[in-house]
């Protein structure tokens, strides 16, 4: 359960889950929606996989991700999204990064 909270605390990972709600997507399709590097995105996917929130399937060279949220996790995702958990912390980190 700790892994689930950790995964849902980050706005980027929540955005990934929101995208996967619409349909299963490849890692490339998902990465197009973000300005992060591939290793950063891979790290986010790894956290989501470790928490059991997404399912990964290899189709040739492509990696397809599917959402795998239980009802409770879905409710937690909605709750975290509504109250913007982690967004202020992320903004602070980004602000710190640009200042230095």
């Amino acid at each position: 359960m700790n892994n689930v909270f950790k995964a849902l605390a980050d706005p980027t990972r929540r955005k990934v889950l929101e995208l996967l709600r619409t349909r299963p997507m490849t890692a490339g399709d998902l990465a197009e929606h973000f300005d992060f590097s591939k290793p950063t995105m891979s790290a986010h996917f790894a956290v989501l996989r470790e928490a059991g929130l997404v399912d990964m399937e290899k189709a040739g060279k492509m990696v397809i991700y599917r959402i795998k949220l239980s009802v409770l996790e879905d409710a937690l995702l909605g709750f975290a999204g509504t109250f913007g958990l982690g967004t202020q912390r992320k903004a602070k980190i980004l602000k710190k990064g640009t200042a230095t």
Binding site: R21, R23, T26, I64, R66, I67, S70, V71
Partner: protein, 130 residues
């Protein structure tokens, strides 16, 4: 190992269900609780079982294609999981607190609605070709 775990969990849960039913029946025979309370207790357990099973419904491995149709199937499954989870909770709460015969009516209505809406969702949303 991964396939046997859900079976094991199911068996453990079924065992717990049987044991709690026996305990309730035993308590009734000992005049610790009334027959009504024992029956309500079993109904609450059944409702909670439905809610817990529905909670994990979307965790089962599926092979929806990475397409619009796959997305709709996934959405239909998620919606039905929510409906059955809510139905299970309503079933349990109604069985615990609502007076007879309304408890049975509400419980059957909740589960019946979830079944109907699930069938409709899969036929209208999931079954349609892209």
């Amino acid at each position: 190992m991964t396939t046997s775990r859900p079976i094991l969990n199911g068996l453990v849960w079924a065992g717990a269900l049987i044991v709690s039913s026996i305990v309730l029946k035993f308590a009734q025979h000992q005049h610790a609780i009334t027959q009504d309370a024992a029956e309500r207790g079993v109904q609450v357990i059944i409702g909670l079982t439905l809610a817990i099973y529905a909670n994990f419904m979307t965790k089962q491995p599926t092979a929806h294609p990475a397409s619009e149709r796959g997305g709709r199937m996934q959405a239909a499954l998620r919606r039905s999981a929510w409906q059955f989870c809510a139905a299970g909770v309503i079933y349990a709460v109604a069985s615990a607190f609502v007076p007879h015969p309304w408890d049975e009516f509400i419980a059957i209505f909740a589960v019946g609605s979830a079944v109907t809406m699930t069938v409709v969702a899969f036929v209208l949303i999931g079954g349609r070709d892209a």
